[in-house]
């Protein structure tokens, strides 16, 4: 069975074409296009494509081959004109270009095999170093890039897609939200309160801080205004009206 090669072994349409050219032992500069096209299509027929993108690349080449074949069959109307361009020329040029790198690949493979047999050693642990020296990182941008990719990968594996970062944030601050709502309610009901009165019910210092932050939020959101007659005097909190005034 001479054709028992599977498509997966071919890196692409060029690779397959080369295989055919070599198998038929034809001159690359004078490809018997009808023959090769037929064999190329036979290969494609035998295959079931799983990867539609790879398949399409092979099919595009099939179309190119058929196009060239048809061109070559046509009695050239313009053949008399100047020098005629061989319809195969562009294809051959690309094939040769591809072949160059395919050959290089073989050479690199050989080198890879040898070089993988070299072993290196771990750096020696040395004593403490002076932490006060100026900092210059020993990492470069690609380290940074890799670190990021690794972190994101782990994160995605860990939490799956729909883990929402912001959610965790809000949960943490929920008491502040509560506090804001609380103050809003007071404003709605009373319209005015002193800071002292507001924090009187606070059990902890953290609660006072949160209340203060809530006030700042509301001021910034133009929901309230605050006034203080003089230093250390009680702070008066008042609701703003819809026109943005007191």
């Amino acid at each position: 069975m001479p054709y028992s090669v599977k498509l997966e072994v071919f890196e692409g349409p060029f690779d397959l074409l080369f295989h055919l050219i070599e198998k038929n032992e034809v001159d690359i500069y004078d490809i018997p296009i009808a023959d090769i096209t037929r064999q190329y299509l036979e290969y494609l027929d035998e295959l079931r494509f799983f990867d539609i993108e790879v398949a399409s690349e092979f099919l595009v080449m099939a179309a190119t081959l058929l196009h060239i074949k048809s061109k070559m069959l046509l009695p050239g109307k313009e053949k008399a004109e100047q020098e005629e361009v061989d319809p195969r020329q562009q294809l051959v040029e690309r094939l040769i270009e591809y072949k160059k790198y395919k050959d290089v690949t073989g050479e690199l493979r050989k080198r890879e095999e040898v070089c993988q047999k070299r072993l290196f050693r771990e750096p020696f642990p040395l004593g403490d170093y002076d932490a006060h020296d100026p900092f210059v990182p020993d990492v470069d941008v690609s380290d940074l890039c890799n670190a990021f990719v690794q972190a994101m990968r782990r994160y995605i594996n860990l939490y799956n897609d729909d883990y929402n970062l912001r959610k965790s944030l809000e949960k943490e601050r929920i008491s502040l939200t509560d506090r804001i709502n609380h103050i809003k309610n007071i404003m709605r009901r009373v319209g005015r309160i002193s800071f002292k009165g507001l924090v009187e019910g606070c059990a902890t210092r953290a609660n006072v801080v949160v209340t203060f932050l809530a006030l700042l939020e509301l001021v910034k959101g133009r929901k309230i205004v605050i006034e203080q007659a003089f230093n250390f005097a009680d702070i008066i909190i008042q609701k703003r009206d819809s026109k943005g005034r007191k």
């Binding site: 020696f124 020296d133 990182p137 941008v141 690609s142 972190a151 994101m152 994160y155 932050l213």
Partner: protein, 180 residues
């Protein structure tokens, strides 16, 4: 095998192993008797010493290992000091990478991505002037948003954060867009 070749194999083996290797293991690798290998080890040891080479062959209870020769310690230290001094811990590097790519970003978000507390890493990075507070998030609590500094760009030879290499979607397999 020639003696020269055997010695080379021993040299390669001890070099790659790093840790002490027992005479027994050496013999089994070489498929030779101890009485034939021992004299060669002795020759090697003498030879490194005689030439006052950079490395020496040390032996302890039938285990062999290469080490550097003590008299060159100062040079080695000099060679290593800058490298060691420059190190960023893996945690710091990772934190820096996330901040660089996701900036501006809060500590909570960094921690959510890393899955671990990151305050030490963030302090380190601030101390080393690689990141700074750039803004506050306009939500409750107004948490600090971190971003990279000009020094960061300088260290990594970038003229702007836009120059950070693009992360191809396939590298992460799923590009997380829901963090902001």
């Amino acid at each position: 095998m020639e003696d020269r070749e055997i010695k080379s194999i021993i040299e390669a083996g001890l070099f790659a192993a790093g840790d002490p290797v027992s005479l027994k293991d050496l013999c089994s690798v070489l498929d030779m008797d101890q009485k034939d290998v021992l004299p060669l080890l002795k020759e090697m040891k003498d030879w490194y010493n005689y030439e006052r080479r950079g490395i020496q062959l040390i032996e302890a209870e039938g285990h062999y290992q290469f080490s550097t020769r003590p008299e060159y310690y100062e040079y080695i230290q000099k060679l290593h000091t800058p490298q060691r001094r420059q190190g960023l811990s893996q945690a710091a590097l990772e934190t820096l990478a996330i901040i660089a790519y996701k900036q501006p970003i809060t500590r909570a978000e960094v921690e959510a991505i890393r899955g671990v507390q990151s305050d030490t890493a963030i302090s380190t990075l601030i101390e080393k002037r690689l990141i700074q507070e750039v803004d506050r998030l306009d939500t409750v609590g107004r948490p600090i948003l971190y971003g990279t500094t000009i020094d960061f760009l300088k260290y990594f030879g970038l003229s702007s954060v836009k120059e950070l290499p693009d992360i191809l979607e396939k590298q992460i397999s799923y590009l997380d867009e829901n963090t902001r």
